[in-house]
Each structure stands twice: as structure tokens, then as C-alpha cells.
């Protein structure tokens, strides 16, 4: 195995890992604020890919795909607001006490509902929007132009996300809610409204991943399943609630899967990530960047 080939495999894993981290960031962000796992995250990814496809095919055309991306994210953001307001908010009693099983049941039901709705509306077949860019070479790796666009899009969105969280008033409020839901209310912040915003942003990030990867990984009712699966793996590896953990976990998972599938066997690609996850849980149960929960 020469260094050139090894660099190709590592780069390929790195690219896909960064893109998967967008999904993981959405999951971990919702968890940080609302303290709930959204099991239907993959379906918001799927809806994002369908909206992107529909907008490109019927409104913007193949050359202006980039106009469709914010609209796809916006549409899923609004859907997230509605879902949170009417289906998830009832799990909170007085903004603090929450019924975890309620969120689990609702999000699993949403997963089944959205998947079947996609089959009813779009049929069970796969669709593919036209390519965002021609195939190119990234350092040593011959790669789909779509994948490079998705990588760049992911990096921009990650930077924007960090900027908003670190520098804005809303970001400070969100960080406060992540640290202490009771404390933030004493500062006069409506934590339930903040939940709605967090849920909308989280699912919009999943939609962005779906829209960016649509030309490469296709658009079909179950296309979100694999990225949700990866997203959950990444947040456990990186540490639940950590933005940096989502990115580093994503890259690690991508590279390990790429190398394992080439040097060991492609048939067990998912196993390699799980082995990493088990090893981390044994030696560092909070994940790479997770913090032990503090109780008062």
C-alpha cells in the first residue's frame, strides 16, 4: 500500500466524516437544549433532500441549486417549529419537568409518519437532482464535485453556527439553557420558546445535510436512516452536547470506516465505528469532549 493510496482513503473518510458531523451537530444541539433525543432526525434530513430536489427541478433549475439550499433549510426549520410547538412542547411541565418517554414516542411516530408520507407523495423510487459541480481532484483524491460542495457547505454552516452561538444574544441564551434550564428562566428568558428555536435549527442542519448530499446519496424515503445512525454514533464518540466533539467524532468515524472497509472488509463497514464507540465507552464514557453531568 503506497502513501498516495492511503492518502486517498484517509481523505475520502475525512470528507464524509465532516459532512456527517452536520447531522450529529443537529442531534447534539437539540439534546443540549431540550434534553431529548430526536429519533426522527433522519426524516428531517430526508425532507430536506426532497425539498431541495423539488425546488431545483421545478423552480431554480440545475445551475441555481445554491438558491434552493437556504429555502430547503428554511422550510424544514419552519416544520421543526411547528412540530416542536404542537407535538413536543407538551412533554414539558412548567418548562422544567419533562417526560422523556413522551419525546421518544412522538419522534419515533414522526419517523414512521414522514417516511410513509414520502412514499405516498413521491412514490418509493429514488430521485437525483443534477450535479452541483463536475467531478474534481481534491489533493490526491478523485472526488465528486457534489461532495466538495457539500464539504464546503458544511464548513460554512459549522462556522456560522459557532459564530451565532458564541457571539450573539440568542447564542448566549441557548448556551445558558444548555447549562441550566431553571437558571435561564430567572434571567427572564422564555425557555420553551428557546426550545422551539433550538429544535428548528437542529432539524434545519439535518435538512442541510440531506440537501447537500442529495445528488450523491440520492433522494428516497429511507435516505435519512444511515446518516441518523452515523449521527448518533458520532455524538457518543465526540461527547453528547459538544460541538467540537461532533466534528472530531465525525472525522474519526469517517476515516476509521474508510480504512476498515478497505483493509479489512467492506461487508462490515458499520462494525468499525461501533468498535471505536465501544472502546471509547470503556475508557472514556463521556466521549472525547463530553463532560460529566453535574448535579446540585
Amino acid at each position: 500500500m503506497d502513501a498516495f493510496l492511503l492518502s486517498q482513503y484517509v481523505l475520502s473518510g475525512l470528507v464524509i466524516g465532516v459532512i456527517y458531523s452536520l447531522m450529529a451537530l443537529g442531534i447534539t444541539f437539540i439534546y443540549s437544549i431540550m434534553k431529548m433525543i430526536n429519533w426522527g432526525m433522519g426524516e428531517f434530513y430526508m425532507i430536506g433532500s426532497y425539498v431541495q430536489y423539488a425546488l431545483i427541478v421545478s423552480v431554480f433549475g440545475p445551475r441555481r441549486w445554491y438558491l434552493a439550499l437556504p429555502l430547503a433549510m428554511g422550510a424544514v426549520f419552519l416544520l421543526g417549529l411547528v412540530v416542536q410547538r404542537f407535538l413536543l412542547r407538551p412533554m414539558f411541565v412548567g418548562g422544567i419537568e419533562r417526560r422523556d418517554e413522551y419525546a421518544t414516542i412522538i419522534t419515533i411516530a414522526l419517523m414512521v409518519f414522514f417516511r410513509n408520507l414520502a412514499i405516498v407523495l413521491g412514490g418509493p423510487n429514488q430521485y437525483a437532482p443534477p450535479d452541483y459541480a463536475r467531478p474534481m481532484t481534491l489533493v490526491t483524491l478523485p472526488i465528486s464535485g457534489n461532495r466538495v460542495v457539500a464539504l464546503a457547505g458544511t464548513l460554512v454552516l459549522l462556522a456560522l453556527f459557532c459564530l451565532v452561538i458564541k457571539k450573539t444574544w440568542v447564542g448566549r441564551a441557548l448556551r445558558g439553557a444548555a447549562q441550566n434550564r431553571v437558571g435561564i428562566q430567572t434571567a427572564g428568558i422564555d425557555v420553551l420558546r428557546l426550545d422551539m428555536l433550538a429544535f428548528g435549527v437542529g432539524v434545519a442542519l439535518a435538512a442541510a445535510a440531506g440537501a447537500l448530499l442529495a445528488p450523491d446519496f440520492l433522494v428516497y424515503p429511507e435516505n435519512g436512516a444511515i446518516s441518523t445512525f452515523k449521527g448518533f454514533e458520532i455524538i457518543v464518540i465526540g461527547g453528547l452536547g459538544s460541538v467540537l466533539g461532533s466534528v472530531v467524532g465525525g472525522v474519526l468515524l469517517g476515516v476509521i470506516e474508510a480504512l476498515g472497509s478497505v483493509f479489512l472488509s467492506a461487508a462490515y463497514k458499520d462494525l468499525y465505528g461501533f468498535l471505536l464507540l465501544i472502546a471509547l465507552l470503556v475508557f472514556r464514557p463521556t466521549g472525547l469532549f463530553g463532560e460529566r453531568e453535574r448535579s446540585v
Partner: protein, 402 residues
């Protein structure tokens, strides 16, 4: 007292008189168990349902079966998974009392439901499931009117030999079909192409990023790439092989007839050009009177040429109607006897079932051809048959260098 008895008797006779014709006209149910949602190849299932419905319509328009009983189809989705297939088959056999089940597409599902077919004594037909073991198990209620993988792999090995290729890579999924393709291709290479090199990669069917595997294949520098994906994975292989510069520089042969479907070009665009693929039907083929009538009706209804899955499902439903009439009964044992004793008009020839050796047990095989798309958006009717030599209508062409 006598008056009351007489009234009761008259009432009973009236009830019997009114319900008897209805009982005699009770429809005969045929199950269609096929993939209609992911992760199964749902597009294939839709074409199979189309064909089966047209078969039932034809039979009913001719007066039905068993002296006037109508055929009623009960359609179930197996989603390409053995557990959903088994649940669907149980429902069809026990709740719906289907006399036979057609439409099986995925080998893994067929393998799971054929054990239930024995248990419930309901004949099950493989419409497009091709794994060797399906008929090699020599089960009484399993029938197939589709190709088997040893024949498919021998055929593509002979094609590779004819083209003069010495290094072939096979990438396929971890299903009964995919694993079977690897085993059968290794055997075929050993017997037909000794000395040629074969590299096989089996990937998880759920995986969507195949870039590392395709890079590995590209690095190995094969003369030909065999695409053993079914449904979405088949498309992912083509798209991603194109992106890493493997396809169409290295010729690709797709293991089944998915490129004949209208969705092929919509999904792949120009990346679908230069692919070669195995088919079992071509619009230029001469069909039986029954097959020709179906083709005309299908084209009038759907404004496109029929797909093989629709033809085969149609033929299976009509074949079951012929079997019911030949057996003069809907009893399962009588149906199996009639299936083995009679010859039936299929879509391109006479179908008969015998209990042969190995996988040739209750098996009827349609023709197999290699065709190729040489320009974007090419219609299937325009695609030339490039193999076998006695049926070819054009020469295979290598893609120009990019």
C-alpha cells in the same frame, strides 16, 4: 305444526337458493408479494404489480376460471426484507386464502417465504429472484420462471472472455443474491476463464458511500467492473464509480435489467451512458400471441414498452389461471400436479416445469442478453443486443476517453 315446518323449509330453501350462486362465484385469490417500498427495489415491484393486474384483468375478461369464478389479486409489500416477506406470506396464505403467490423479486425474501409455502401448501413463484438455492432445495411448492445465478454468471464470464478481458472486479451487496453472485462467478471463472483474475468486494446493503471500495478497485486496474447492486446500491455504484474516474473508462456490466426502467436516466443522467446490462426481454424479440397482446395493451395503457418484470408477472397470473382450469380445482396438491403435468403459453415461449437436477427443479428459464447504452437518454428499444453472438444486433462499444 306442519305449517311452521313448511315455512321454515321454504325459508331455508330460499336462503340456499339466494346464496348458492354467490358461493359458486367466490373469487379465486392470487397473492402478489413483491417489494413496494425501500429498502426493497420498489420500482421493480411496481412493474410486477402492473403486469399481475393486467393478467387478472385478461383472465376475468375471458370469463374467469373454474367455470366463472373471477381472479382477485391480493397485493402485499415485502419491502425487500425477509421478515416483512414472511409476514406478508402468512397473511396471504392464512387470512386471504390465496391459492398461489407470485411477484417474488429479492432472493433473500424468496428464501424466507418458500419455507412457509411448504408449511401452508401454497405454490409460490419467483418472478425475478434468481439465487441458486431457491430451486436447488427441491421444494414441492416453489416454482420459478426466471433465470438462475449460475447461468447469469456463466453468461457474463463468457461475455468477458469474448471481449478479451483478463481482470474483472465484482462489487456486490451482502444479500443472498450478492453472495451467490460471488460464488458463482468464481466457479464460472475457474471453468471458463482459467488464468483470468477476479477481485470481489461485498458491501453492506445499507451503506451509501462506496468511494473507498471503488478507489480500491480503480487502483487494482480491472478491465471490466461487474455491478452487482440491486435497486439504490446499483445507482450509487454507477454514480460514485463515475465520480472517482472508474466508469466509463473501465467498462461496466450491470447484473440485471434495472436500466430498462424510465427512472434510470432520471437518476443518472449522462453517467448512465456506456453501461452494459443483462436483460431477459428486448423490444425486438418475437413474442407469443399472448405476449404480443400484452405488449400492445401495455403500450396503449402506459405509453411505454413493457418491462420484463411486468411481462413475467402477467405470464405467471395467466399461467395460474390455466393451471386452475387444468386442475379443475383450487386444491393446492391438485394445482402442483397440474403445474408439473401441463405446458403453458408464456410471454415468449412455452413454459413447463420438470423436476430436474440441482437448481433446475420446477424451473423455467427465459433468454438472457447483454445490451448497452451508447448515448445519454437512449431508449431501451434503441439499445443494441451485444451478446450472445447468435442474437446480437450490434457491436459492443468502448467509451471514448474523457
Amino acid at each position: 305444526m306442519i305449517g311452521r315446518v313448511r315455512t321454515a323449509l321454504l325459508a331455508a330453501l330460499l336462503v340456499i337458493g339466494l346464496t348458492a350462486p354467490a358461493l359458486a362465484q367466490k373469487p379465486v385469490k392470487i397473492g402478489v408479494l413483491t417489494p413496494l417500498s425501500p429498502p426493497g427495489d420498489a420500482a421493480a415491484g411496481q412493474f410486477i404489480v402492473r403486469g399481475a393486474k393486467m393478467g387478472a384483468e385478461d383472465v376475468n375478461a375471458r370469463g374467469g376460471v373454474l367455470a366463472g369464478r373471477k381472479i382477485e389479486l391480493v397485493i402485499e409489500d415485502d419491502a425487500g426484507t425477509p421478515e416483512k416477506g414472511a409476514a406478508g406470506f402468512r397473511k396471504l396464505a392464512s387470512q386471504d386464502q390465496a391459492v398461489a403467490v407470485v411477484g417474488q423479486f429479492h432472493s433473500s425474501v424468496m428464501t424466507a417465504v418458500q419455507a412457509l409455502a411448504e408449511q401452508f401448501k401454497v405454490p409460490v413463484f419467483s418472478t425475478q429472484a434468481s439465487a441458486r438455492q431457491i430451486t436447488e432445495r427441491h421444494l414441492n411448492y416453489t416454482f420459478r420462471t426466471h433465470v438462475i445465478d449460475p447461468d447469469r454468471c456463466q453468461m457474463w464470464t463468457r461475455w468477458i472472455k469474448e471481449r478479451g478481458f483478463k481482470r474483472a472486479a465484482l462489487i456486490t451487496e451482502n444479500t443472498d443474491y450478492g453472495v451467490g453472485l460471488v460464488d458463482e462467478t468464481k466457479k464460472a471463472f475457474a471453468s471458463i476463464l482459467p488464468g483470468a483474475e477476479l477481485r470481489t468486494i461485498i458491501f453492506d446493503r445499507a451503506v451509501v458511500d462506496l468511494t473507498p471500495q471503488l478507489l480500491e478497485i480503480k487502483n487494482w486496474k480491472p478491465d471490466v467492473l461487474l455491478n452487482g447492486g440491486i435497486g439504490t446500491p446499483m445507482y450509487l455504484i454507477i454514480k460514485q464509480a463515475y465520480d472517482v474516474g472508474l466508469h466509463p473508462v473501465v467498462p461496466m456490466l450491470i447484473s440485471y435489467d434495472a436500466p430498462t426502467r424510465p427512472e434510470y436516466w432520471k437518476t443518472l443522467g449522462e453517467k448512465g451512458t456506456w453501461a452494459s446490462f443483462i436483460v431477459y426481454y428486448h423490444p425486438t424479440m418475437k413474442l407469443t400471441a399472448r405476449g404480443e397482446a400484452f405488449r400492445k395493451k401495455y403500450m396503449a395503457e402506459f405509453k411505454e414498452d413493457p418491462i420484463y418484470g411486468a411481462l413475467n408477472a402477467y405470464a405467471q397470473v395467466v399461467l395460474m389461471a390455466d393451471t386452475l382450469n387444468a386442475a379443475k380445482s383450487d386444491n393446492s396438491d391438485e394445482l402442483v400436479k397440474a403445474l408439473l403435468a401441463n405446458k403453458f403459453e408464456g410471454w415468449n415461449g412455452t413454459i413447463s416445469f420438470s423436476r430436474g437436477e440441482g437448481p433446475y427443479w420446477q424451473q423455467w428459464t427465459p433468454p438472457m442478453l447483454v445490451t448497452q447504452y451508447t448515448r445519454p437518454e437512449m431508449s431501451f428499444g434503441d439499445a443494441k443486443i451485444v451478446y450472445p453472438p447468435d442474437l446480437k444486433t450490434g457491436d459492443w462499444m468502448a467509451a471514448p476517453k474523457r
